[in-house]
Amino acid sequence: MSAPAVRFAGITRRFPGVAALTDVGFDVAAGSCHAICGENGAGKSTLGRILAGIDRPDAGTITLFGEAVRFRQPRDAMAAGVAIVHQELALWPELSVAENLGMGRMPRRGPLVDRRALRAHAEALLARVGAAIDPDRRMGALSIAEQQLVQIAMAVGADARIIIFDEPTSSLGERETERLYAVMAALRAQGTTTLYVSHRMPEIFRLCDTVTVLRDGHHVATTPTAALDEAAIVEQMIGRRLEQFYPSHAAGTAGAPVLEVEGLSAAGGRVRDISFTLRAGEVLGLAGLVGAGRSEVARALFGLDPTARGRVRVRGLEATIRSPREAMALGLGLVPEDRKGQGLVLGMANRENGSLPSLPRFASRGVVDRARESAATGAAFAAMTMAADAEAATVTLSGGNQQKVVMAKWLTAESDLLILDEPTRGVDVGAKAELHAWIDRHAAAGGAVLLITSDMPELLNLATRILVLREGRPAGELARADATQASLLRLMSGLGAA
């Protein structure tokens, strides 16, 4: 047996108030794809960051291919052949895609950057992950999924021996996800070792040989995938059996129309002719490939798109929504797709983020009543199974817990017409089930939900009807009974429809 690619021994990392990792030790076999599973906040990302030299353990050692290493900074890890795809986007939004990809090893001609070589390098990397992105575009102008692809290209292009993927698919659509799987296969053929963090069970079974489960920062087990099933992994994660992943629905009866949209166009006309009716008690799914215009519809409805045109009626009354304030006054709430950029003020406490849209409700004469604020946000955090301290700064939370804080904002605001754009991005299985149950209850109580999600099972399970978009146009509508993964994909891609 050759030496393991990575040997963690006794890794411990404490933050003020939490032990993120306690005495974690296990081996990652060379050339394998090794899954790391665990609930939100279990310590997966922290372990990845330590291996990539971004964070340093308080105790413990790392051995790479039999050689003890001690990384003081990311550069050291890169030099040792370790690359990471971060859970959160870590890029330069004001620079071009090519510059982002060339960062740290700019090709030069004399003292100047060789722009042509830089562009060629970027094109080659993007081709490797099968991404059709113009290298000259500004990073910040790309969609979240496209940014994620660039980030993957960056790590793959580093020609590392070991690559950590921290929830790479959480913001990718079907098509991009398939491409990533192909990339993973190519890496495996090359003998690259990969650590793969994900909350999506099917892909773990598809990609990984071995599964390590962490719980509350402790190592629970490292087991060959062949010896496990989904229920067994979840049991290791939460310490008990989870009976139902998707709760059964209270058969909602659709009530009066809450939101009627007619001939909506958005994003400067890139999205056009969108019409639909959302009734009380309904969960309307909005499906489409990445770039189909789903988020653009959400932004237009929430008053965030000055180019939006078309007729919108809310509860039967004609409405022109020009700002989120006006949208909120009509009872709308939006969970945006980019939690870090649009959903959260990371430096604020969880309580403060949770109450941000509804703060005046907890104030009299402009002075905030802390007790009422804490009670309301605390209830919303509990409903989302967000276990972190309400007074901790949101920036210190794990990705999944941050997502729960974004959801909690709109729970606290008691919006009855919710637009959810990828609401379970990076949320663990248990919490996802809670969230689904909450959406069901919300609908049953007469609320309405417009659901955008790239997670097929989630869409098929929750939506009462599904509207499919393709390249900014409506491509069809399916009732829950007629919707299957295959029929949806056909409509989304337009293949086999003609």
């Binding site: 965030l304 304030r325 003020v345 990371l346 604020m348 849209p357 402009g366």
Partner: protein, 344 residues
């Protein structure tokens, strides 16, 4: 004897490091300053630690601190206001000219009219800054750099660079001893404490204050949460202007006159007070109390030069060096405290 929990709160507060630096500095100054015989009552008086010097220092600090509270609020929102010194000058000059034109008035009327003109002009200037920052979408650094020159220019032209006296009834109020004994005037000190307290309540307790933090922390997320971003942004410049107006009123009343060159270069002291107090220039972080402590620190450094009879020619060098040292010590201390707390 303060209870242990009170001490713990104090040590844990974000102001602990800076307050510590300030107290140590005062202690050292008291030790190094020596003492003299009181010519009237007899007995020895410390050259630094005496009521007169301390109140004089508080008076010097009050202008910086009051404007520093405004600057802190602007900086928390992610902006910057370079025009406070110019607003100070214009508001003071405008008040003095109106009072001169109005002729002799009963004390209460003079006081009321002066205050109204001074604050009115200052708030209008702040409102203009805010409207331009929001409406023209130009970085506040540029807008307020522009208004800094424009407003001082207006004050200069208006007053023809004259020094204009203000009625003695105003001076009587600003220099009132409030029963503390002669030649002691605690009014600026009290005004400084009042403005700081109001600023602290605004920032930590009100909806509008919370919005300032949110907008400075992440404008995009604030917009997505339906916050009144434009109104809040205009508001912080109005507050900054108002603070400059309060400082101008106190200053003109205290010293008995106003000129267009008043508060020249104050904007940097004011911003320094806020930033030394821990306000982050990228926004989202800061406190009113810290701004006041920051102002006191800067004034203490200046006072030290006088008390210790350093060569005045080295004033700038000493102020610059001490400023950097104070912040480094504060940050080092904060880091140490965090480490101790984590170790528990």
């Amino acid at each position: 004897m303060p209870s242990p929990s009170f001490v713990r709160t104090l040590v844990r507060s974000p102001q602990a490091g800076l307050t510590g630096v300030l107290l140590v500095l005062w202690g050292l100054l008291a030790l190094a300053a020596g003492s003299h015989q009181d010519p009237l009552g007899g007995g020895t008086v410390n050259n630094f630690l005496n009521a007169h010097t301390l109140i004089q220092m508080a008076t010097d600090a009050s202008g910086f601190a009051i404007m520093g509270v405004g600057a802190t609020i602007v900086i928390i929102s992610g902006g910057i206001d370079l025009s406070v010194g110019a607003i100070y000058a214009l508001a003071g000059v405008a008040m003095a000219m109106v009072l001169r034109a109005a002729g002799p008035l009963p004390p209460v009327a003079a006081f009321g009219l002066g205050l109204a003109v001074c604050l009115g002009v200052a708030v209008t200037c702040g409102l203009l800054n805010g409207l331009m920052v929001v409406g023209l979408r130009v970085h506040p650094f540029i807008i307020t750099l522009g208004t800094m020159w424009i407003l001082r220019g207006i004050a200069f032209v208006m007053s023809r660079a004259e020094s204009i006296l203000v009625p003695t009834s105003l001076t009587a109020v600003a220099k009132a001893s409030l029963g503390l004994g002669r030649s002691l005037s605690p009014v600026p000190l009290l005004a400084m404490c009042a403005v700081t307290a109001i600023g602290a309540v605004f920032l930590t307790r009100t909806v509008a204050g919370r919005y300032v933090f949110a907008i400075g922390g992440n404008v995009e997320a604030s917009r997505f949460s339906g916050l009144p971003v434009a109104r809040s942004t205009i508001g912080v410049y109005v507050i900054s202007g108002l603070c400059a107006g309060i400082a101008a009123f106190l200053g003109a009343a205290f010293y008995g006159s106003a000129t267009s060159s008043d508060a020249n270069g104050y904007e940097l002291y004011v911003i320094a007070s806020a930033v030394v107090g821990g306000a982050s220039l990228v926004g989202g972080k800061g406190s009113a109390l810290s701004a006041m402590i920051g102002a006191l620190l800067i004034v203490t450094i200046r006072q030290a030069i006088r008390t210790l009879h350093f060569d005045q020619n080295y004033e700038w060098i000493i102020i610059g060096g001490a400023l950097i040292a104070a912040v480094v010590i504060d940050q080092g201390g904060t880091r140490l405290l965090t480490r101790l707390r984590e170790a528990r």
